[in-house]
């Protein structure tokens, strides 16, 4: 099995690579759309700005290739920024995104008395029984760093929620796509377990 890690100049991918290496899976860092053809699974990581990320994805042909990848039913995992650009659009830079999940990405409220970005460890609350959460204890914490949150139109796209001044979608998904706002690759044993669950997942 080969996992493609999509490199679209949105932060460095080293932590995702080291986590996959620890899980003893073959991975390739890909920068062009055609490189996705041979991959069995796809990880869409990233931190930074949604607008510039989408511009890079379109120029490299990756945006179309990711849409095609999704249509073929192969599993996709979005992480952090990678979990935001799967929606229709983002308030950040007013970006038009991939539209794999209906909805938008909105800023965390600045007036809730909480520090922005939401940086640190938080627990999540799964809303559905998804294979991604298999074997993960309910008091497990995950590492978040973000100022924007996905807001799917359909409640059924929300797989887990998190609370930080407001409740927001911590994991979204649809069919063969799952996307986490936090960083499983930086979330200790629970995060590695979740990555492993993704690698085992047969949607």
């Amino acid at each position: 099995m080969t996992v493609a890690i999509v490199d679209y100049d949105a932060g460095n991918l080293r932590s995702v690579e080291t986590a996959l290496a620890r899980l003893q899976v073959d991975y390739r860092v890909v920068r062009r759309g055609e490189e996705l053809r041979e991959a069995d699974r796809l990880v869409l990581p990233g931190v930074g700005d949604a607008g510039s990320a989408m511009a890079t994805l379109r120029e490299s042909g990756l945006a179309d290739a990711i849409m095609h990848f999704f249509a073929t039913g192969r599993p996709i995992l979005g992480i952090c920024l990678g979990s935001q650009i799967v929606l229709d659009r983002s308030e950040e830079s007013d970006a038009r995104c991939l539209g794999l999940i209906p909805g938008s990405v909105v800023a965390l409220p600045r007036d809730a008395g909480y520090k922005i970005p939401h940086m640190g460890w938080n627990t999540i609350e799964p809303l559905v029984d998804h294979p991604l959460f298999r074997g993960i204890e309910e008091d497990s914490s995950f590492y978040f760093v973000h100022s924007y949150v996905p807001k799917p139109e359909q409640g059924e796209s929300i797989l887990a929620e998190c609370e930080y001044g407001v409740r927001f979608a911590a994991v979204v998904g649809r069919e063969n796509l799952v996307a986490a706002q936090f960083h499983p690759e930086k979330s200790g044993v629970a995060g590695l377990r979740m990555l492993d669950n993704f690698l085992q997942w047969m949607p």
Binding site: P117, M119, W121, S140
Partner: protein, 257 residues
């Protein structure tokens, strides 16, 4: 529930921790990678490495350490010390660190904060700041550099705000008065800065007992607390500190294995 972070700090010189650290069972460990792995496994929420290597030629050793640490631990860690340019930042981040920390270098060249934030995202850029109580300053605290040896003209509160405006995503606030005393963090300073800036503040300097962390979280309004000698020499352990904080009603990450 959102949790308060316990950040373990390791000083590294020429690729080795500066003093052998006695980790459980009194074994002296000088290898930063081995120590990082042990702290990772025993519940540290984040690690900070300060590179205090004096000679420029040996700086590359730190990048090897960062690469090895990144392969071993799956929690965030930052690297500070000697980072003077955006290229220095890039090297450390590409080696696998989550964040880079600038201190004296940012006082001399504040532009580096914004340059780094624009290039790598503000969540990567940490301002490390050393402050000394000084009644002649507007906030009552003066920024000092070079490990506290050199005073600057900067007011601590003003500098914290400016750094955040320039793009710092987090502040590690070290009290020179409290540093090394083990008498507790400087809660007044911590609270003042934490309430004035929008980004997380990591309190540093003075930790000796678990209750000091409770004080700095409750009274000081810190988002995270840095610990060093109190855990390095076997006096206390991260799990023990976390159990204590949990018992005091402070949310911490208890499940880490």
């Amino acid at each position: 529930m959102f949790q308060k972070r316990i950040v373990v700090c390791l000083d590294v010189r020429d690729g080795k921790v500066t003093k052998g650290i006695k980790f459980r069972g009194n074994v002296d460990i000088g290898d930063p990678v081995e120590l990082a792995r042990r702290y990772y496994e025993t519940g540290a929420d984040e690690l900070v490495f300060y590179d205090i290597t004096a000679s420029a030629e040996k700086r590359g050793i730190m990048l090897d350490v960062v690469r090895s640490v990144a392969a071993e631990i799956f929690i965030p860690f930052s690297v500070g010390g000697g980072i003077a340019t955006v290229e220095d930042m890039r090297a450390v981040l590409l080696a696998g660190a989550e964040k880079v920390s600038v201190n004296s270098q940012a006082v001399g060249n504040p532009g580096i904060i914004g340059e780094g934030a624009a290039r790598f995202g503000r969540q990567c850029i940490v301002l490390g700041m050393d402050a000394l109580a000084d009644g002649t300053m507007p906030s009552g605290y003066r920024v000092v550099i070079n490990g506290g040896r050199t005073p600057t003209d900067l007011d601590a509160l003003q500098w914290a705000k400016e750094a955040v405006d320039r793009g710092a995503g987090e502040i590690v606030l070290n009290s020179i008065d409290a540093d090394g005393t083990r008498d507790g963090y400087e809660c007044r300073l911590t609270r003042m800065v934490s309430e004035a800036v929008s980004v997380p503040v990591v309190a540093s300097g003075g930790a000796g007992e678990p209750r000091h962390l409770r004080e700095v979280f409750q009274t000081g309004r810190a988002d995270a607390a840095l610990v060093a000698s109190m855990v390095h020499y076997g006096t206390h352990t991260v799990p023990e500190i976390k159990e204590y904080l949990h018992g005091e009603g402070i949310p911490v990450r208890l499940r880490y294995n």
